[in-house]
Each structure stands twice: as C-alpha cells, then as structure tokens.
Amino acid sequence: MHALECEQLTKVYRSGLRNKREIRALQEVSISVESGQIFSLLGPNGAGKTTFVKILLSLTHPTGGRALVLDHPVTESRVRRRVGYLPENHRFPGYLTGEQVMTSFGSLAGVTRSALPGRIDQLLTLVGMQEWRKVKVRKYSKGMMQRLGLAQALVNDPDLVFLDEPTDGVDPVGRKEIRDVLRNLREQGKTIFLNSHLLSEVELVSDRVAILDKGKLLKVGTVEELTTTESSYTIGCQGPLPESLRTEAEARVLGVTMSAEGVVANVTDPAALNAVIDLLRKHGVLITSVTPQRNTLEESFISLIKREIPS
C-alpha cells in the first residue's frame, strides 16, 4: 500500500508584470512511498523539496499533476487527521507554554479532549521536554523548539509524518534521540517523509531516498542503490601480486590500481570486469572476493548533482 503517490507533479511560480517571469519549482515529479518506510528527499537549496511537501499538505497548489496522500486527494482536509507535519523554521505562538501548544494544536489535529492529556504526557516525555511544559515557548532554544515541534507533529498519532529538517539546531545527543524516535515510529508501521540537508543522518535512518535538483527528480532508490558505484569494484586477492601482472595491466590499459589489500578495477561494463578477473587468474592470483565499491550518500549526492550541472 502506498502512503504517498504523486504523478507528474508540477509547480510553476509566476511573478513580475503580467506574470511573465516563471520559476519552475517542480517539473513533472513522480514519486510513490510505501507505507511503513522512512523516505528522504534530498536536494540542494532551491531544489523544490519544500514546495513538494507543501503541495502534499495543501499549503501550495500544484500547477499540474496528481497527488494522493493515504489514498485521498491532498485537497481533502480530513485526510490531514492522519498526517503530522513539522515545518522548517516553524513559529509557535510565543505566548503559549509547551503544554498549551500541544493542547491547542492537538485539538486542531482532531485529538479528543479526553485523549489529549495522556498523549501530551507521553510525547513530551518522548522528546525530553516534560520539565519545560509549563514554560512559555518564547523562552525555548532552537533545539527545544524542534523537540516540541516533533511532539506536536505526532500528537494525533499520524500514519504519515512529514518532517522538514527535524534535527536543525539539535545537539548530537538530541539528534540520536530523534533518530531513535523515527526508527521506533517505523517499527509501529508509520510512514516518515524526511526533508534534510544532513546526508549522514539521512543515510543512517532512510529506507529509500529521492534526489531532487532544480525541480527535477534525478534518482530514487534505497540508500544502497544510491551509494553503490556501478563502475568500480574491489577484488580481494590472496598473497602478493606478481610484478608481471602490473606490467601487463598497464600495457592493456585495464584501469586497475593495485595495493596490498587487492585490486581496484575501474571498469565501464561487466565484460571489462571479467577481463580484469581473467588477467588475475592468468597470473595465478587467488581471488577471494569481488565487491562493488560504495560511496557515502554525500559523495553519491554530490556526484549526481555535479553530473546535472552541464545540462
């Protein structure tokens, strides 16, 4: 079952005299997210990530395309009873205490009056804000606001949660706690849609990742799929490599580098990889493993974005 499904989603902002200036914030983006997953959307500033989330929450109207949230059109406000949202740079009314924020926004989210106190207790404890519940939010630090924001996003026990930069301003211990909360929610079968700049964190928790740039969807896949390079393999070998092998490899321009741990083959296709393996066996080298090389998510992200720049 899909928690989220959108097809050919397009958003064009028009400005200037007679709306002549166009900014294509989203260009025919199609994404679907399975229930019970942590799905992350990555992209540089201005890529269209926030616009995408705002369309799914009906904060922004799409210019074209179709979007369903929990099998309902995004324009149906009642579907948002099952949705939670932590916006980036959210501003809770400063005159409310943390507890009042939870009560007010919980009531707006459709939580019954009888269920609210228990839910508030549970969530404020979960995000470590129990002792600050009676303090006005204008006195909160950025990190505390994020924690309260997360609790607020979960107040209606949503099936789908959108989190825009949830760890922004949170200390390392707090980040770890938030990651644990996200994993715990996934175990409960909730779907989490994450917008974040912190790629190392995204890598730690996400099941699937999409990369967006200039409004275009560049790639979608699991973290493993995105970080695995298709053209570089580490070939584990036993024993020292003969000098004759190095000479022949250089002469045939096979694109291999040799080290004590083994051989790294930078190849363009499986046939070239097999040619390297054949060469190693010809020289009597005992092969113990052939492993595709993996980048970090950050390296993959940067290489993907750089590849798009000339276009």
Binding site: K54, L57, H61, R78, Y85, R91
Partner: protein, 276 residues
C-alpha cells in the same frame, strides 16, 4: 470544534498584547472618572444631573431624570464608538497577518481544518475580544449610572450588541485588507483611510464625487462603492437611538451585514487561492 479552538487561541493571543491592556485600562479610567464625575442632586424644583459638580440638566421630576441620563449615555456611547475604531482596529489588525506568516500558517493549514475555518476562527476571536471590552465598558457604565443616578437602563447594556455588530462589520474589512496585504501596518492604514477619508467622501458623495460628473453610470458606481462598505455612521446613529429608545433604522444593519459578508468572502477566496 476547530473554530472554538481558534477563537480561544486568538483570545489568548490578544490578551498577551499590551494594546488590549491599554484598551481595558482606558475603559477602567473612563469608568472611574465617570463614577466620580456624575451625580444627581435633589433641588426644590426637581432633580438635576451634575457632571464634575456642574449642572447639566434643568431641574426635572425624578421620573423624567432618565431622559437626561439617556442623553449622557448616548454621548458616552458615541465616545466608545470612536474608541473602538481607534483602538479596536489597531489592537486586532495584526491577527490575520500574524497568522499568515511563514512558519505559523504552515502549522495551521497542515491540520485538518479548511482555510475558511481558519479565517472564521480568527475573525470571531478578534470580534469576541473587542466585544468583551465593549461589554466590560458598557456594563461598568450601566452600574455607574444605576448606582450614582438611580437609572437602571437595560438599553445601555443592549447597545453592546449594536456596537459589537458594528465592529464585526468593520473587522471584516480589516480581515480583507490583512489577508490581501499580509501586513498589519498596511491593513491599519487602509482601514483608517476608508474610515477617515474615503468613508466621509462617499457618505457626502452628493457634495463631493457627484460634482465631478453627471453621468448616471459614474454616479451608480459611486453609489455602489458607498453601499459596498459597512455603514459605520448609520450604525453609530443606531447605537444612540437604541439608548435614547428611539426606533432604529434597520437599513444600516442589513447593509453592514451584507458588506461584512462580501469582504469576508473576498478574504476567504484570496486565502483559498494563495500559496504558502
């Protein structure tokens, strides 16, 4: 349910603002001043109403004193009317622009409420806050006149409804400007421009705008503009009539209701179409 939550939030928001305390403080000072200033003295040829020790009515039999008190109450209501325009609009004009600020509006619209509900909840909250101030002032004045003059006139209390209705009609205009511009300052300036300049010109259109052209279409447009806006002066007159127990003219009520509805609907349409 959501609308009640929004009303409560708006009341909390306004009660945290200094302007609302100033408004309540001014009301309290006026009531204390009134309690000290107004009195009734018995003279040989009847009862006289005094203000700051000065006689403000001719000696009348006790049963006719109420008329003189009503006149004073009508004058007081006129002052309150001006106060509502000056301070009420000023104190509440920020409600809509503040709600529509980035980071705040996201929190509201991402909840299962429609945009018109958000607007209605905020509108009702601001009107309720000013309505409570009006009730506080008029109930206080009713007590002062009752205790100091022995005149317990329920019409003074009932005029709180007329005043609140008048503010509600005017506030729809403020909400429209606030939704359109998303700026507190701009909505205050535009509302005051209407109240103190355009409203007066339209009200006296026969001596101002009509002089520009005799064209019937032009004059119909001017008339249309006049009826488009809330009938503030007509409502003010009705407030005084209510206290004086004179039959009220219902046309300003109807026109102001229609005008308020039009401006509120226009604000709702703008909000519905807007991207955040």
């Amino acid at each position: 349910m959501s609308i009640l939550v929004l009303i409560r939030l708006t009341l909390r928001e306004l009660s945290s603002k200094v302007t609302m305390y100033i408004l309540a403080g001014i009301s309290t000072l006026v009531l204390i001043g009134l309690a000290l200033a107004v009195s009734v003295d018995s003279m040989a040829d009847g009862e006289v109403l005094k203000l700051f020790g000065q006689q403000v009515s001719p000696p009348v039999p006790l049963e006719e004193l109420a008329k003189a008190v009503q006149q004073m109450q009508a004058g007081l209501a006129g002052g309150l009317f001006t106060g509502i325009i000056l301070f009420g609009v000023f104190a509440t004009a920020g409600v809509i622009p503040d709600t529509l600020e980035r980071g705040t509006v996201d929190l509201y619209i991402s909840k299962p409420i429609s945009r018109w509900e958000l607007l209605l909840g905020k509108y009702c909250g601001a009107v309720a806050a000013i309505g409570l101030n009006i009730i506080y002032f008029l109930a206080g004045a009713w007590l002062v006149f009752g205790l100091r003059c022995g005149v317990w006139d329920a019409n003074l209390l009932l005029s709180a409804l007329t005043m609140t209705f008048m503010f509600a009609a005017l506030y729809a205009l403020v909400v429209f400007f606030g939704t359109w511009t998303r700026s507190t300052a701009a909505s205050i300036i535009l509302t005051y421009l209407y109240l103190f300049i355009l409203g007066g010109i339209l009200h006296n259109r026969e001596f101002t705008l009509y002089l520009i052209s005799e064209n019937t279409i032009y004059r119909s447009v001017i008339d249309g503009l006049y009826y488009l806006f809330p009938q503030i002066s007509g409502m003010q007159e009705n407030g005084a009539k209510q206290i004086m127990q004179v039959e009220m003219d219902w046309k300003p009520f109807l026109q102001s209701f229609l005008s308020g509805s039009v401006f509120f609907l226009a604000a709702a349409v703008i909000l519905k179409r807007r991207d955040f």
